[in-house]
Subunit: 222 residues, 2 copies
DNA sequence: CAATTGAGAGTACGAATGTTCACTGACTTG
DNA sequence: CAAGTCAGTGAACATTCGTACTCTCAATTG
């Protein structure tokens, strides 16, 4: 029997993680489709051939990076969705959380934004799949909100996708703007969210209130 | 004086255009940062060194492609903005125009979507500048709309940017979905536009029409 | 018409790429 | 403890790359 569990496996995971980390760093200034296998191994300090022990392709490495990056994003979305209170407050909190996570994991956001429409098919698909599941998660949470009474599943998913796309766009804009422009980007993001929220509140205005119990006259406080 | 005008210049422009076209085609399956100089010249059937007669870099070629691609986009935006009639009708027409242009110039849209957040700085900046000017153009047109009475310039630009971003996102989604999914993507795009339009109509609901329009002052983040 | 220009061809170079193969040696297992 | 597994090594491979040269010769110019 083995008492010591995986000294070997541990070391392997360590180098694998090192490869992922080095790649993420190198991808700050280029896209995945131009990332060289040797480039990554050189940064880690490992022989080029060792790469194959972990990934078949740089594309496969990219897919692994998607998992990693959107894993951390998943946590953030959970935080946003868990927020309570006035919609304006939740809106501010959402943007603040995006700011915070972009500062903490800039490379992850940059990678997602860059490769979402990038040149490597499998990576694009992986990102699309993950973002879709995020949108579904958001939609499911929205469905529980009283403001979403009478909404069809399709519309909820549409709105969830809108929020997710907006999040990625905002994060990318912040990275591009740098610390100096963060404030401005955040302000615009807030306004956009506000606009979408307004549209959301009036989505069912034209529909039959007997059919779908919407909000014909839940007056907004002023 | 020269009677014949630029047989030589004409030929040069022709090869330049051939280089741009070949590059655009090659960029269908990769990003600009991995596009090789030789790759482009080989596709055109010209010596690698001839490339330098037209562009200093592949990055410079990318910037030239931005001009070309967003030139055609500019025409489309003009068409969209020139549309008249009910907002629902204009909305449908906008999406139809996007569909039409994506079908006609898929490579241009793909290039813009891909390199907007891509690995080549100068190209990113060129795209950002052009898209900003589009947003300003949209904002200027929105300003003339009766529905936009009382809107601040900042809010108008925010909305214009939202429309532009949405357009790029929609075009990219259509390319990804292919002809089969075009319909579905168009439907979602319409709903999103409808939501934004609703938000737009209620943007000033809470503000005092006699007082200064706009958004109440916001809290600053840390 | 003679002189000049300049787009493109051709060759050559060093550097870097992905991938193969046989190998070592520390860890794991029976 | 002996046998086997396997992460990582190092050399070698055929390509591809960007770029620096010289050269050609048709279009332009004065």
């Amino acid at each position: 029997m083995s008492h010591t569990v995986g000294i070997r496996r541990t070391q392997k995971l360590k180098t694998r993680q090192a490869l992922l980390g080095a790649a993420l760093q190198l991808l700050e200034h280029q896209s995945l489709s131009s990332l060289g296998l040797r480039e990554v191994t050189r940064a880690v300090g490992v022989a080029p051939t060792a790469f194959y022990r972990h990934f078949e392709d740089t594309a496969a490495l990219g897919v692994a990076l998607v998992e990693e990056a959107l894993g951390s994003l998943h946590g953030m979305i959970g935080e946003i969705l868990a927020a309570t209170g006035d919609s304006e407050v939740r809106l501010d909190r959402s943007v603040d959380l995006i700011i915070h996570h972009v500062r903490e994991q800039p490379a992850h956001f940059r990678f997602i934004a860059r490769e979402q429409h990038g040149g490597v098919g499998p990576v694009r698909e992986a990102i699309a799949a993950q973002l879709l599941s995020f949108a579904e998660e958001v939609a499911a949470t929205l469905a529980e909100d009283p403001d979403s009474r009478g909404w069809s599943d399709e519309d909820l998913l549409m709105l969830g996708g809108l929020y997710v796309d907006h999040m990625v766009l905002t994060a990318s804009a912040m990275l591009e703007a740098g610390p100096a422009g963060e404030h401005r980007v955040a302000e615009v993001a807030r306004r956009r969210l506000r606009l979408v929220t307004l549209g959301r509140l009036h989505w069912l205005d034209g529909t039959n209130p007997a059919d779908a119990p919407g909000v014909p006259c839940t007056s907004d406080d002023d």
